[in-house]
Amino acid sequence: MRFVLRRAGFFLLTLWAAVTLNFFLPRMMPGNPAVAMVAKFRGRISGQELTALETIFGVNSGQSLPAQYVHYLGDIARGNFGTSLFFFPSSVSSVVRTAIFWTLGLVGVTTILAFILGTGVGIIAAWRRGGLVDSIAPPVLVITSAIPYFWVGMMFILIFGLKLQWLPWSGGFNLTDTPSWSGSYIVDVLEHAILPATALLITTVGTWTLTMRNNMVTTLAEDYVRMARAKGLRSSRIMFDYAARNAILPNLTGFAMSLGFVVSGAILIEYVFNYPGVGYMLLQAVENEDYPLMQALFLLITVAVLVAILLADIATAIFDPRTRSAR
């Protein structure tokens, strides 16, 4: 319990750090970029919204920096991110809400698949050291991990979308369709998800496999594995209950690390496939200098990553008795 509480404290600290970065970054940059943005939108949006924007970015507000900071923290705590400039007059929160749905579906499912697939291949590669899987998988995965995510997406579009014309490669659904719970719409959404999901899977599965293989190689040399062998246990029992169960712990902790790759992969994949999720929206916001939307999306992605890490920590606490007694 103590372990989980400590991790929860860390969660709050990191969240505060991300909010603070959001606050200070535009103010630290040479010639506060927010000033240019506010100037650009003056006259195009109403006076009240302009004032709200100015307080968020600390332009012409006449407040001191600490006062601005307190004000900003209050706004964020109340979920007030201001008005989106690009999707004017929608508020940032309402724009973000539609994007989350798409990303959760695409990235959530792909991450779980990548974890299962990658860990599985890693277990087999380490178990049959020098075997077929072990000699093919690691080098191939090392090379795929060196290919830029977006380029894999582009090649998928080229081969499966444009050349073979098997699957749609742009957007989340056909624009002629009306969103509903009808069968044809669901099939359409799934069809649009296949190419981006596969591209994301290919680029992220490698980290899981390689770390799992290396952990597994280390655990297989442990005395308790030799002991299990000496007892004459079935190999599947040794493989999963003795070696893999212990090797998977660092992989769960390494979740923090890998999740960063998944997120960056997802942003680029969404961009290449015009997939209407959070990453695509983030780049739209950047392109149009829509800083309020950009800040909110950055915070949203950070929170999502932190929640996932917290869940991984709780899972570690369940699987690894040592963490429960740790200071």
Binding site: A18, V142, S145, I147, P148, M155, V217, S264, L297
Partner: protein, 294 residues
């Protein structure tokens, strides 16, 4: 010497080293390999591959092959610049935390952990969005500032295992300053780990820098592979059938990344002997082998 042996022993690492050497030569002497100017808009637009233009031309009529060759330099500057800088910062913070212990360890470690979990790429995007058209130096600075945390954590745990060794106690008794002990006594013992960390950092710096340039957050006039992809995307090269404009720079990034990743194999094995290839046959025992050569 140890490093050279590790690289030559593994076929993968040798391949990586050769590949990297090729890119270094390309970056240093691009003029030897490409006769065309990479920027001159001297030819017909969107040409396919031919003897004249090995990889065709761009949407502005520049030679794609020349662009790929001249583009090597900026990518290498970023890989080596940001890779080295982030490894140095990581070594300073990680080893200092482990060596100083107590309050400093707690504080530095917490700081490292916070930086580690904030998603790197979105943060890079946000910073680059405020900066506008980041050139080489800005990219290096941003990648360094965001990319040191994982290595710092690795090096800290390695240094922790050294903390109570006799040679460090001896240095302390001699009255050496903490900075001296860290730089002269501790860091050299971790050289293989440092090289491995540098290779990993360089790989991710290449990928992240190219990604930023691809989405239009680099300097659009810079000569680099990421920028070539940006223009290919703007030119709708895939839809229009100018495949080479997109394939060539992406393949270059992949090859350079693979060079770093393959080379890393050798250094992983120095650091963690358990990963070394299992020898099928026991080395034959030669009773006089050593002696007779001596």
């Amino acid at each position: 010497m140890r490093f050279l042996k590790a690289v030559t022993r593994s076929g993968k690492a040798t391949a990586g080293a050769i590949l990297l050497a090729v890119f270094v030569v390309l970056a240093l002497f691009p003029g030897l390999f490409a006769k065309d100017s990479p920027t001159a808009e001297a030819y017909d637009r969107n040409l396919g591959a031919s003897a004249q233009h090995l990889f065709g031309t761009t949407g502005l009529g520049q030679d794609t092959f020349a662009q790929a060759v001249y583009g090597t330099r900026q990518v290498m500057e970023i890989a080596f610049g940001a890779g080295l800088a982030s490894t140095i910062i990581a070594a300073a913070i990680g080893v200092a935390a482990a060596y100083l212990g107590g309050f400093w360890d707690g504080a530095l470690n917490l700081f490292t952990d916070v930086v580690l979990v904030i998603p790197l790429f979105p943060l890079l995007i946000v910073i680059a969005a405020y900066v506008h058209n980041s050139g080489t130096l800005v990219l290096i600075a941003v990648l360094t500032f965001t990319g040191w945390s994982y290595t710092a954590r690795q090096l800290r745990s390695q240094a922790l295992s050294l903390r109570n060794r006799d040679f460090l106690a001896a240095a302390k008794v001699r009255g050496e300053r903490a900075a001296y002990v860290i730089v002269v006594e501790i860091l050299p013992t971790m050289s293989s780990l440092l090289v491995a960390a540098f290779l990993t950092n360089a790989l991710y710096d290449v990928l992240f820098a190219s990604s930023l340039q691809f989405i239009g957050l680099g300097d659009p006039n810079a000569l680099s592979w990421g920028t070539m992809l940006y223009w290919a995307q703007n030119n709708e090269a895939l839809q229009a059938g100018y495949y080479l404009q997109a394939i060539v720079p992406g393949a270059c990034i992949g090859l350079l990344g693979a060079a770093f990743a393959l080379l890393n194999y050798a250094f992983d094995e120095i650091g963690n002997p358990a990963l070394r290839r299992v020898r099928r046959r026991r080395a034959r025992i030669r009773p006089l082998g050593r002696l007779s050569r001596a």
